[in-house]
Symmetry: C2
Subunit: 516 residues, 2 copies
């Protein structure tokens, strides 16, 4: 590592003073700068691009041979990426990006201190082409489609970057680097790579390890000679977002075995420790996210995220985001509601409404039973908020799928739940899940509650870590190379397990001793 | 060197067969190619640019996972620069370029065999801006001047490349790399670097080691992801052409001490062996090249390149290039002529015409004595070809300057002529010099004739070597770092030496025992 400890950052801003040239010292301006930097850092082999080299003579002369250089570590060597105006406060920034299919999250960091200068998120502009990945892959195959998907994304990112630098009073060129994590398709679209084969057997990405990409090649408006670290993927269904998640959880460095579950439209699961990592992705069912259930929606103001049912009185206590009158229910609220309904025996072990227990809360619309969660007088919409049996059945399938995936996974590696010290829940949605409710439903295993740890947006957290530290950036490739991706075979055993898991908490109650 | 022997080429064309992807083997197309190459070469860490990565899936699928890749060694790692059509014969080419101030020489090489496919040279198009370097440096300082000088050069090179590939039936993309040697200013103009400070005290180049530059950054029309190795300089007056010359001579690897002299407008001198190298440049006088003497011209058809005078009869025997009727005399012809005139005592030890010896060949024009070299009836111009006393005086100054530079140089390193085993003469002009004539004049030291070796265009030869071999390419930087450039102080001792050297062969005749 050229004498620099790997804990060091891979973007550095280094002040350097040079001896001005003289007849007895005819070293060129560029090599004078490089020698000064090599001396300051105690390393050799620093390189520079021709485009920057061309500017060095005027820059160093204007500034009396005292400048501040921005250096990037790339493939074991350092590159001078910029020489900044001397009148600027000595900071250098970077962007961590989570390229979500639905939402893009962006974090501006001071790379010297690690301080978060600003954080923002916005709807992925590709949603205008299609909300789901498959639609976008098909669109990418049309003439100009790939280019358009990439432009939508990059233009929107550039717009956000411009607003950020204006608000923060920094210069575009002071954003020296970015670190980007996303699923395999999103990463392909960001890089302008055709995702055609990702969704076609045998599901092959264009590339696994984009590594360090010049910002100019992507059209990303950071420093002209900026570097973008793009997280690798381990296959079409195991993307950089999950690798970032592993990094963020720290499970890859721990002696004890942990499990990391990213609950989104799919459930992505990683098991392992510092010696081994096994990953799997499976459809956990769309009912876990808003948009499928009639009243299910993404978390937002007035959305029910917590429900308590008084088993004695049958009274519902709902908590909404920002405490506003309820307008709907999100996935985590739905899990809470179902668990409470079960504990109050208002649903049975099959998840079916028990009419005699629900009383006036049961209403039949078009021949389907609906549970009234909020009566019109209490709602923010003026109407009733209901959850139909169909929606509840969907939730039951989702929770069964999740349980089945988890069980199948741990069986595949010949482990039992008692072997796990930590159960990390990743994803914004996962953060809201009440683990106790998920255990009651039999969605998550019956571990001690303190084993559960919600990590939030681990994709963004991992991207941040890789941006700040060379050791972490290098750990990313190490994780990717070490993780074994397993396809989950939907065989008879899996289907039997799935059927058994459709009951609350499970047909084998001994698996959930804590659930009454 | 990643397991490859350093004698190996740094551009390689490698056939690779991959196992097509399957459900059990989901490696991405790009990494599949890279793994195949790493296996074929027995090395690791092969990289690829995003722009090429994007094309890999369709290319490998079209060709059934059997392709031919072009790889470049860069900074100790290999990069995939292209994947060539399978229907092409398995060759990969490169361009060696000597960027002369007056003439550009170009050589197209097959990099697999080292075979020269074609060689050409043409007038440096920058001559239209100014024939000399200083005029161009000043022009570069004007608005758009630098860009124009670069474009003139690169456009002309591209035009030649296009003609070459058309004639040879190869593809532009099959020219994978170029190797370019030129003096410091020419190299700066080629790279688009402002040479402003090169001619201003303390004479500092923008950079010393351009190294490997992407062809796209220069606008050079070879393969899109081609690499251009640009020779380094050791200062404003010690350019890549000379470093190429050292490489071509091989003196940097020899145990015995050699001297290399590049005779052009300036005389550039290098002394040394495998342990040390000392270089110096000095003005050898413009009379040595065509354009100054009225009849002096660059070598070309009909130009006198050899003269023999029958001392008994006073008869002149001239040899011309291509045996055509004489139209002028080139520098080497002039040296031959002067030596023969001296041996026939038609000039004295001061280089002055001896009228009684010259007889009818002396003619006075505008009060200046002229020697008739060719009478009108024998000339290709219909007129007389003459050499004036003024021109002869210029030649005497030039030969004295050359001797003084050489003498001063060997004194600086405390050596004597007997210490030198080899005297390499570089440059096209140098190739034509008859060493015996130069010794007679006292221009070159009185060494055994077999010590002299004319190397021709060593800049082009060195560029060729660095293009063909990684070891030689790496030797270039090693030479640059090892060579000590000394400014020649024009002090009293130097001037005394110069005065003594103005006589034929020298005031100290003991230095030239072989000259009668």
């Amino acid at each position: 590592m050229n004498g620099l400890s790997p804990q060091e950052p891979w973007i550095r801003r280094i002040p350097v003073s040079m001896t001005p040239p003289a007849l007895k010292d005819n070293t060129a301006d560029v090599e004078r700068l490089i020698k000064g930097l090599e001396k300051a850092l105690g390393i050799g082999g620093i390189r520079i691009d021709l485009s920057l080299a061309a500017k060095i003579p005027s820059v160093v002369r204007e500034r009396g041979y005292r400048v501040e250089a921005v250096l990037h570590e790339e493939h074991g060597a350092w590159r001078v990426a910029d020489v900044l105006p001397a009148d600027r406060v000595g900071s250098v920034c970077g962007l961590a990006v989570d390229l979500g299919t639905s939402v893009i999250a962006l974090r501006l960091l001071d790379l010297s201190t690690g301080e978060v200068r600003e954080e923002t998120s916005f709807l992925n502009p590709q949603v205008e082409i299609g909300p789901d990945i498959l639609t976008r892959i098909h669109f990418a195959g049309q003439k100009g489609g790939l280019k358009r998907l990439q432009s939508l994304l990059v233009d929107r990112l550039n717009q956000e970057i411009l607003s950020m630098v204006e608000r923060r009073g920094i210069l575009i060129r002071e954003i020296a680097a970015a670190s980007v994590a996303g699923n395999t398709t999103m990463t392909h679209l960001f890089l302008g790579l055709d995702p055609y084969w990702i969704c076609r057997e045998p599901y092959i990405p264009v590339l696994n390890k984009p590594g360090l990409v010049p910002s100019a090649d992507l059209g990303l408006r950071i420093s002209d000679r900026g570097t973008v670290f793009v997280f690798p993927n381990a296959g079409s269904y195991f993307g950089g977002d999950l690798i970032a998640g592993i990094l963020a959880s720290g499970m890859n460095g721990e002696e004890e075995i942990s499990i990391l579950v990213d609950v989104g439209t799919n459930a992505e699961v990683v098991l392992g420790n510092r010696d081994w990592l096994v990953a799997c992705a499976g459809a956990a069912g769309p009912a876990l996210e808003g948009g499928v259930a009639g009243m299910g929606m993404m978390a937002g103001p007035g959305v029910i995220d917590k429900v308590v049912i008084d088993a004695a009185t049958g009274e519902f206590h709902v908590r909404t985001i920002e405490g506003l009158p309820p307008v709907g229910i999100c996935g985590s609220g739905m899990i809470d509601l179902a668990a409470q309904l079960y504990l109050a025996r208002m649903i049975d072990i099959r998840g079916k409404y028990v009419a005699e227990k629900c009383g006036e809360r049961i209403q039949t619309i078009d021949g389907v039973q609906h549970l009234i969660v909020v009566f019109p007088e209490d709602s923010g919409t003026g109407g009733t908020l209901t959850l139909s049996q169909v929606e509840m059945d969907g939730l039951m399938r989702s929770k069964a799928a999740m349980h089945t995936i988890l069980t199948t996974m741990i069986r595949m590696v010949h482990l039992e739940w008692k072997d796990f010290r930590k159960f990390y829940v990743a994803g914004t949605f996962g953060s809201y899940i009440n683990p106790r409710s998920a255990i009651v439903l039999g969605m998550l295993p019956d571990l001690a509650l303190d084993a559960y740890e919600a990590l939030g947006n681990t994709s963004l957290a991992g991207a941040t870590m890789a941006l700040l530290s060379l050791r972490e950036r290098e750990a990313v490739d190490e994780i990717r190379d070490r993780v074994t991706y397993v396809e989950m075979n939907v065989n008879q055993e899996f289907m039997n397990e799935f059927s058994a898991a459709k009951f609350i908490p499970h047909t084998d109650r001994s698996l959930f001793p804590s659930v009454p």
